[in-house]
């Protein structure tokens, strides 16, 4: 059961998951905050991520009050804000990325207010035109679908819904009704970058979700190492890593908060290790 969009989507997310299914492997989805700490460093990292093994990329849109985020992503938002990051600039980053890469899906992840203030219709048109494939908006549950979810689907933009450990079977159909592209399972009841769920718990949760949907299920929150990413990839269709990458960015800034010389390489090396964990996971499990 997945929502039909009225305008055609970009097709990138569908194509990517179809190719991965063919190869029998899970997707690695890194998250970074747009303009953390600069537009240039973000673009350099973005452009390097597909070659480092990123299958889909989540790009954070800053918001002053990120209620679902832990200290690492809060700090990333503050760094981006200090550099003057805006929604418009985030879309420009995507547009730049798309000049070299027309295949890797880009999902914007953030909160509703900056989009609401931008104007929903204008935002959807500009995001689509910039090359954004989908949205994850943390503070828009199904109860508020008319705000952005339904307009997004009508505009051919995927709206990736979050399911959580508190989403019970009774509520799940409502959560799934208009989700599109894939389903994002938040593996812990908590904020980003804190606790981690066990592989067993994640496996059971994904199995439950799969009883209700044919969409790919990505798992995130609390995945910090290549080993953890590999464990998740054995039981889910994608592993999302955010805070650990963002923290690595924080750890590779100079005293003025500007990118250290090896920032981009360090981040891409880590991404490569995470990707290797994800991509080798099922092979490893089969052996």
């Amino acid at each position: 059961m997945s929502a039909q969009t009225s305008a055609p989507t970009s097709g990138r997310i569908e194509a990517r998951f179809a190719a991965l299914a063919e190869e029998g492997r899970a997707a690695f989805i890194p998250f970074i905050m747009a303009a953390d700490p600069t537009v240039e460093s973000t673009l350099d990292i973005l452009k390097g991520l597909p070659a480092a093994g990123a299958d889909i990329i989540e790009l954070g849109v800053i918001f002053s009050d990120p209620m679902a985020d832990g200290p690492a992503i809060q700090a990333a938002g503050l760094r981006a804000k200090a550099g003057g990051a805006t929604v418009r600039q985030t879309l420009e980053i995507v547009r730049q990325f798309r000049t070299d890469d027309d295949a890797t899906p880009i999902i914007l992840m953030g909160y509703y207010n900056p989009i609401y203030i931008y104007g929903v219709d204008a935002f959807l048109a500009d995001a689509r035109q910039a090359g954004v494939d989908g949205l994850i908006v943390v503070d828009l549950p199904p109860e508020e679908d008319s705000e952005l979810c339904l307009p997004a689907l009508a505009a051919g933009m995927h709206f990736v819904r979050l399911a959580t450990p508190t989403t019970d079977d009774k509520r799940l159909p409502a959560v799934l009704e208009h989700t599109s592209g894939f389903l994002y399972y938040v593996s812990i009841a908590g904020i980003t970058g804190t606790a981690s769920a066990t592989q067993d718990a994640i496996g059971a949760a994904v199995a439950r979700l799969k009883n209700h949907t044919d969409l790919p299920v990505a798992v995130g929150f609390g995945i910090k190492t290549p080993e953890q990413a590999a464990a998740v990839a054995q039981v889910a269709d994608a592993a999302v890593v955010g805070s650990a990458i963002v923290q690595l960015i924080a750890d590779n800034l100079d005293d003025n908060g500007q990118p250290a010389a090896d920032l981009v390489d360090t981040v891409l090396d880590f991404a490569r290790a995470l990707a290797a964990g994800v991509h080798g996971a099922r092979q490893q499990a089969a052996e």
């Binding site: 009050d65 809060q74 207010n113 900056p114 503070d139 109860e143 509520r171 908590g190």
Partner: protein
Amino acid sequence: MTIERPNSYRSGPDGKGHFGIFGGRYVAETLMPLILEVERAYDAAKADPAYQAELDDYLKHYVGRPSPLYFASRLTEHLGGAKIYFKRDELNHTGAHKINNCMGQILLARRMGKKRIIAETGAGQHGVATATVCALFGLDCVVYMGATDIERQAPNVFRMKLLGAEVRPVTSGTATLKDAMNEALRDWVANVDDTYYLIGTVAGPHPYPAMVRDFQKVIGEEVREQMLAAEGRLPDTLVACIGGGSNAIGLFHDFLDEDSIDIIGVEAAGHGIETGEHAASLTGGRPGVLHGNRTFLLQDGDGQILDAHSISAGLDYPGIGPEHSWLHESGRVNYVSVTDAEALEAFQLCSRLEGIIPALEPAHALCHVARIAPELPGDHLLVMNMCGRGDKDVFTVAEALGVQL
């Protein structure tokens, strides 16, 4: 912008928690099941006479309701116009109106079997009231408070600790009320099983704005009865200060459909609206989505929330309850603003003339009373909500006046 006059201003919110376009439930999926559970539990409690009887009993014998309606004769004489009455909610146990709401919610949390209570606080009045009811019922209590506020409200921090609560300093953002609320929401997301979030004002996701209003509207209901007893008729003007807006909606709600009554909410203008350093979301903000509801917010052109400023920690919040946003847009309530300096003057005036040291929050309302009362006739009945006492603010006021304690 004026919307069409509804049949009643007292029937909101709708089933999804909307007051016009305001309100709603903009929260992470993790919290949605919890919020729906709170709504179900509150609906069941409302329908249960035993719950209301228990609440009434505690309000009478523990909180000290009804609070008096007091004719401020010296202030009336000094201003030389309208007859000024104070609704004395600062005489409640813990010294503010906040306990009305805490009592209602703690009884609800107990019905829901919750063992751990979290709360956010600005001035510390809601934190103290929450810590108080947690002590009363032996429940664990964690209060999130901005580090800036902890500094300027030291007496209340110590009171919370005496009451057995853990006060967790919040250093993110501006380290004030909005950041404390973010942190409380983060705590709730991580402790969904045993924790109840006791929100202190008429904001947050549905059902909180409606529920907190229901617990505060006793203020206005008492005023109606007391004014009829004192003057044989209803008041002509109501004035209350607004941060989140719980004391104001508490006073206003029962009178919203009485068209003849002027209703005025007073926001904090801080250093002045024109300086950008204020907390007047209706006067200086625009609609947006924060902390679970759509309402007027102080924000920049990119939808980033701006820091509020007020000398009063209790008003230092960049948003306002969604019902106030709706009453503002519908034109039923008139919202004005008062600066730090003006509030300080009113604070001193009231202390000297009436022997009542008001909290800095109602000192804002008092300032507006002083503006309008002289222009009104001597038989005009004006009620101001004295929603908190000023003991907590003496250090702040001393500093502002350049007095070394």
